[in-house]
């Protein structure tokens, strides 16, 4: 799912499911590596965690609000609040780890 300034509140902050937001941009090499993994995880965690991508060029205000100054960064939100943050590209296992942790918390 593509997130932006218009749908962020509805899709992320008001979501009943936890939401993983992948902050990325076209000019970031490691983000390009993360992209397909994030897509795959969106399939794998369907119904458990909502997974969305946010382009920091198109939605700079959200990146600024959550003080994202390095990409790729993923933030997991639960009940409208940030519960986990992963800065940098941790590989598929790294993403799975924080997803699993956030499901337990």
């Amino acid at each position: 799912m593509q997130l932006d300034e218009q749908n962020f509140e509805e899709e992320v902050l008001k979501s009943n499911l936890p939401v993983l937001v992948d902050f990325s941009a076209n000019w970031c090499g490691p983000c390009q590596m993360a992209g397909p993994i994030i897509d795959q995880l969106a399939e794998d965690y369907k119904g458990k965690v909502k997974i969305g991508k946010l382009n920091v060029d198109e939605s700079p205000q959200i990146a600024q609000k959550y003080m994202v100054m390095s990409i790729p960064t993923v933030i997991i939100f639960k009940n409208g609040k940030e519960i986990k943050r992963q800065i940098g590209f941790p590989g598929k296992e790294g993403y799975i780890k924080i997803l699993e942790e956030s499901l337990k918390s």
Binding site: P30, M33, D57, M69, S70, F89
Partner: protein, 316 residues
């Protein structure tokens, strides 16, 4: 579980590993490339102007071209992290996790280097809150802001040059004098009025307001001050060899921790080869073109080894 034994597994998907795969495909070797990041360090480079055939290309584009060529030739590239490598009865076992592993007759280590950190107070605390190891990823967050680039290599110079189009001010802080970067880069930096070079100085602390970085502390005064106010600190001070996975196999390393190889990229371990930045071939001169060359030599050497059942000499 996969029970076939590959001729070759290449660990690392940077220029060395990808080139080795191109040659391995052409030699008809059944092989697999495993790397957590396609392109490795190359994928981070804003622009590449010293790889023949391309006057100017971004690291990401060059990576994609290499990967495309590898895949066109039929090789598999697995974007996964390897957790361990063992050798049992002459067969390498490359493990991705508890349940998943692949086996091969030979192994090429092309794991490159991992980014060196400053190892100063505040660095970990402000990672992603001003501290960055990837100029192309994070440069755009510092539009019209003051930043520091720590380092003196080509990569640091390229980073400072790239940032000069975005940030208002760039302090290039280097512990020595002159810069290690090529004269080509030194000239280009001089053309940029918003780049200031601070020589023979170390950053000893990253300062911040708890939420984000606000400056750096220097080990000696610059224009009368030991602190610089800025919002971004980019660290480009080279890397240390990614040998963690193969240390357990007993591979010989040099004083810097790089893998000792012969001219044909053999290590002291039978069937184990190394190429690219992780190998001790070119000293501090680690280039895309040297990595690709070594990848090609390694593939040729592996092909001969498999064909002739030759032993690794183990001399470097």
């Amino acid at each position: 579980m996969e029970n076939k034994v590959y001729d070759l597994i290449i660990v690392g998907a940077g220029p060395a590993g990808l080139t080795a795969s191109i040659y391995a495909s052409r030699y008809g070797l059944r092989h697999l490339v495993i790397g957590s990041q396609e392109g490795g360090a190359l994928s981070w480079a804003a622009e590449v102007e010293n790889y023949p055939g391309f006057k100017k290309i971004s690291g990401l584009d060059l990576t994609n071209k290499m990967v495309e060529q590898v895949k066109t030739l039929g090789a598999e590239v697995l974007a996964r992290e390897v957790v361990s490598i063992e050798k049992k009865d002459g067969i390498f076992e490359v493990r991705l996790n508890k349940n998943q592993f692949f086996q091969s007759k030979t192994l090429l280590v092309a794991t490159g280097t991992e980014r060196r950190k400053l190892d100063v107070p505040g660095e970990a605390k402000y990672l992603g809150k001003g501290v960055s190891y990837c100029t192309t990823c994070d440069g755009n967050f510092f539009k019209e802001k003051a930043v520091a680039m720590v380092g003196g290599s080509n990569a640091a110079a390229l980073g400072a040059y790239y940032l000069s189009e975005i940030a208002s001010k760039i302090y290039l802080v280097y512990r020595r004098r002159p810069l290690r970067a090529e004269p080509f880069w030194q000239e280009r930096l001089r053309e940029k009025p918003n780049i200031e070079i601070i020589y023979e100085t170390n950053v000893i602390e990253i300062l911040g307001d708890e939420n984000k970085a606000t400056g750096v502390k220097l080990d000696k005064a610059y224009q009368g001050k030991k602190e610089l106010s800025l919002e971004g600190v980019f660290v480009e001070i080279g890397g240390f060899p990614g040998t963690q996975l193969v240390k357990a196999l007993g591979v010989e390393l040099d004083e810097g921790g790089f893998i000792k190889v012969t001219v044909d990229m053999k290590t002291n371990i039978e069937g184990l080869f190394a190429a690219g930045d992780v190998a001790n071939t070119t000293g501090e001169f680690r280039q895309i073109v040297t990595a690709t060359a070594e990848g090609a030599i390694a593939a040729n050497s592996i092909y001969k080894y498999l064909k002739g059942g030759q032993k690794n000499e183990g001399k470097s």
